[in-house]
């Protein structure tokens, strides 16, 4: 059953940046866009097992650091190949300066 998990402080992630967030045996990324919205997606690119923590965030997209696949952070949709599968995304909320993720 999904639960809200305290992932990080809002200032742990810079504007248009990403950090890694591990929970249990799963790995995710927390992304902050240019308008201070926060997103959570699976940590690994769907093309190959490359972690997105080193990726490039531009507005509300994240680009894989190895092969440049770009994903829409709001939906997880692939915008450019070589990835062909969308990323899983997870609901987030900000409360008391913390980012919570529903996993």
């Amino acid at each position: 059953m999904a639960e809200w998990v305290n992932a990080c402080a809002i200032n742990d992630v810079d504007e248009e940046d990403v950090i890694r967030f591990d929970h249990g045996d799963r790995t995710f990324v927390i992304i902050r866009d240019h308008e201070d919205n926060y997103y959570c997606t699976d940590g690994m690119c769907t093309h190959e097992d490359v972690h997105l923590e080193d990726g490039l965030v531009v507005e509300a997209t994240i680009e894989c650091p190895k092969h440049s696949s770009i994903f829409d952070c709001t939906t997880g949709e692939v915008e450019t190949p070589p990835a062909c599968e969308n990323l899983c995304t997870y609901p987030t909320k900000v409360e008391d300066g913390r980012v919570y993720v529903e996993i």
Partner: protein, 350 residues
Amino acid sequence: MPRDYSLIGPDAQRAVDAGLVTEDWYRTPIDRKQMKALMRRADQPAIRDTSILFGLMAVFAGVGIALMPSWWSLPFWLAYGVLYGSAMDSRWHECGHGTAFKTRWMNQAVYQVASFCMIRDPYCWKFSHARHHSDTIIVGRDPEVAIMRPVVALKVAANLIGVPDMISGFRLMLLHAAGRIDPEEAEYLPPMFHAKTIRTARIWVAIYALTLGAAMWFQSWVPVLLIGLPRLFGCWHMVICGWLQHGGLADNVTDHRLNCRTVYMNPVSRFIYWNMNYHVEHHMFPLVPFYRLPELHRVCAWDFPEPCHSFAEGYAEMLPALWRQRKDPDFHLRRPLPATANPYQDTPAA
């Protein structure tokens, strides 16, 4: 040890069994804020260079046409050829990575034009190049190994005038136009892209047919000097730069400092090659655009082997190694690291 470079041969499985098909390649540690600044995109440098490139191509072709049939037109056609057959390779490469321009459609537009000039299907080569970055010079996995071992000198030299590439490009284009995908390409091209590849090939065949038709109709060389032939007589610059990328260095390793080479080049070559002479840097951090590679090079210097300081120095290092690899395919160069560097990652990380 013999090598089988086929992607569907025994070395493909051997690479998997040896743990070489991995994402755990060595990366020089760089502060995240600094890395973000290095990856930041801009349109201006690529717009400037693309305007210069297409402007020069128009001028060289125009003067070449105006001076025909005089031999004085020859240098202009040769210059046009280098921009068509070599500069388009680096535009294909950088725009394929999506790093040249900040604006995505600009990358796409230049990528499509450059793919046509190089006779490289834009979809197959997108995935082929992704594989080249995943499994750089891993035998049986990397589809873009320029110099295979044991080195066959004549075969390598033939690439200087683009003959093997042109034959391969046309063979695959005609195969695609006939509605088929090569089995090796099918190894990395997802089925959802097959239809796009086939459609592209049919458009290209139509363009080449029109070009040939125009040449025959007008009884003129001009159409084929503008489209197609420069891929042969203009590719030499791409080839002499490309050989230096990995030639004579290690294969089957997971550290780009062992299998890539950085070479300082003159400004003209760097314009044509779009700074891909910073090749270790590019492979380790492929999201850094061409115009920030010199800066990345400075940031990584403490951890990288000394670059070659010129074409001549690069070839002086590489050619004897290639010569030896004709008989001893296991031989490769291993350049010393500076005292400040982290040790080489010879084997896959545990």
